[in-house]
């Protein structure tokens, strides 16, 4: 049966079961996470407004890897990320540690490409970060997450709108880490970071992956971010053009094929 004709399958039958035993499952997932792929995507297609945006994608992402989803503008990178996050409907099946997304929400975190908010809005960094969890988080725990991304605790009482683009990006990552996620999704994480900040940022992601065993999935069209950081790449242009280990898959020829002369994708 072709994926496009398949019934939308983003709420499988065992989802409610998963939710009912959420705490037990989360504990068991954390214990046995190495036995399963962090994310498995099977025959996933996405139609938005009657347009085929993604067609029949199948791949699996190992636990603890950094994975880059590459492709030119309009290739469906963000759409795939949003499907994996359960933010848009899709055909096919997406599992996180073998479970439906609704059962493992506490294990995932997301840093959006743009955080569109009124910069004059009165909210401090500490107050905004605290919203990410259902219960109040002590300021010292928030401060320690800020320290992990290289930001001082003095930032806690600073107005969120006063941050630079790079500081904001790091705050959003620190916020995402408050729940100790096992999978971190990032959409164009380097978009607001200057060249000098990119090395720090790459270091943060490496640390998360290698020392804390967090699976990092990021959408990017910045090839320079991929080198030396990313374990696997997924090349996308509506359909899957490549998937595999970076050093095996990401050849000059493949880059040219994926970006078709799009200079934005070559380097930054």
């Amino acid at each position: 049966m072709p994926a496009s004709s398949r019934k939308t399958n983003n709420r499988p039958a065992d989802a409610s079961n998963d939710r009912n035993h959420g705490r037990v499952h989360l504990h068991s997932i954390v214990e046995h996470k190495d036995a399963l792929p962090a994310i498995s995507v099977q025959n996933v297609s996405v139609d938005l407004g009657g347009v085929h945006v993604l067609e029949d994608l199948t791949f699996a992402i190992p636990q603890g890897d950094v994975v880059a989803i590459l492709g030119p503008n309009g290739s469906g990178k963000t759409t795939l990320l949003k499907a994996m996050l359960g933010l848009i409907p899709f055909h096919g099946e997406i599992r996180i540690f073998g479970k439906h997304l609704h059962a493992v929400r506490e294990l995932i975190a997301y840093v959006p490409q743009r955080f569109d908010f009124d910069r004059e809005f009165p909210i401090t960094v500490g107050e905004y970060m605290d919203l990410a969890r259902h219960r109040h988080t002590p300021p010292d725990r928030i401060a320690s997450r800020l320290a992990e991304v290289g930001l001082p605790a003095t930032l806690l009482d600073q107005r969120l709108g006063s941050l630079s683009g790079g500081q904001m990006q790091r705050v959003l990552i620190a916020q995402a880490l408050l729940n100790n996620p096992l999978v971190l999704f990032l959409d164009e994480p380097a978009a607001n970071i200057d060249i000098s900040g990119e090395a720090t940022f790459t270091g943060i992601l490496k640390d998360l992956s290698k020392r804390q065993d967090v699976t990092v999935v990021m959408v990017t069209h910045d090839i320079s971010m991929v080198t030396g950081l990313v374990d696997h790449v997924l090349c996308l242009d509506g359909r899957m053009l490549c998937f595999g280990r970076t050093n095996q898959v990401l050849t000059e020829k493949k880059i040219n094929e994926v970006f078709r002369g799009d200079s934005a994708g070559r380097s930054h």
Binding site: L85, G86, L87, L131
Partner: protein, 274 residues
């Protein structure tokens, strides 16, 4: 001072203060989310839509407040549903329902002959004519909305600032959005009784707008908006009593003065610290 005691000795003034203080706090608290989500047109639209509910009540001899509340609730849920199913911008949907509902109200009112005091009181508000029955309706609905608001405050704040992140964190965004629409439509119609269809948005928009000029933290913002709403209500009612002015319009003008004071204070702080 004696004149203040005299004012508070009248039962109609006691009811006006009681209902005004409760609704000022409720509308300002909801107004915080209205301003974050840039949906002040929604409350304006709901207020105007309630005219059809009031007209239905007037021509059928029913109590206007419950019918207007029910009507506004239906309109709010239809807008929410259509937003999700048609992907039309909410201001377009609100514009359609606001004008259609208002037009229906005008047509229905034209079918009812003679002078319509109820219509005028809902157009411009009549806080001094609040009856004990109205006060009870306001108290019960305001208490229910306030309890929901307190329980959902963190979730509402997060989803208003970052809907995708809120959804990923497990917040049921469609349900919370529908609940916000319902709460806002109920509170707006209760506010219509006080300030009228034309002016009720002032209680939703002005206190949060003035409050954000006074603080850099969210906690401070919430406190400032609530305190300013109560000052607006108490000062507005008192001044309107002392100088025999229309109470709804006086409340709005006092609120506007507070807004300019807060904005001026912010400008002064910026100049002094520059």
């Amino acid at each position: 001072m004696p004149v203040i005691f005299e004012m508070l000795s009248y039962p109609f003034m006691q009811r006006a203060f009681a209902s005004g203080l409760v609704l000022a706090a409720l509308l300002a608290a909801l107004g915080i989310f209205v301003t974050i989500r840039k949906m002040s047109f929604f409350s304006d639209g709901i207020a105007h839509s309630s005219l059809a509910g009031i007209a239905i009540a007037v021509i059928s001899g029913l109590a206007p407040l419950p019918v207007a509340l029910t009507w506004a609730l239906i309109v709010a849920l239809i807008i929410w549903r259509l937003e999700r199913s048609t992907r039309l911008p909410s201001d377009t949907l609100i514009g359609v329902f606001f004008t259609a509902s208002m037009a229906l109200g005008v047509v229905l009112m034209s079918l009812s002959r003679g002078y319509q005091p109820e219509l005028l009181s809902y157009l411009f508000g009549s806080i001094l004519s609040i009856q004990t029955r109205d006060l009870l309706t306001i108290a019960v609905i305001a208490a229910l909305v306030m309890i929901w608001l307190i329980l959902s405050f963190r979730q509402l704040t997060y989803l208003s600032l970052s809907e995708d992140n809120a959804a990923v964190s497990g917040i049921n965004v469609p349900v919370q959005t529908a609940a916000l629409y319902v709460a806002l439509s109920l509170a707006t119609v209760l506010g219509v009784k006080i300030l009228g269809i034309v002016l009720v948005s002032a209680l939703i928009v002005i206190p949060p707008a003035a409050g954000r000029a006074m603080t850099g933290s969210f906690r401070g913002y919430v406190v400032a908006a609530l305190v300013l709403a109560e000052i607006m209500m108490v000062a507005g009612l008192t001044v309107s009593y002392l100088y025999d002015l229309p109470s709804g319009a006086t409340i709005v003008l006092i609120g506007t003065a507070l807004f300019f004071l807060a904005a001026g204070g912010r400008w002064l702080r910026t100049v002094l610290t520059a």
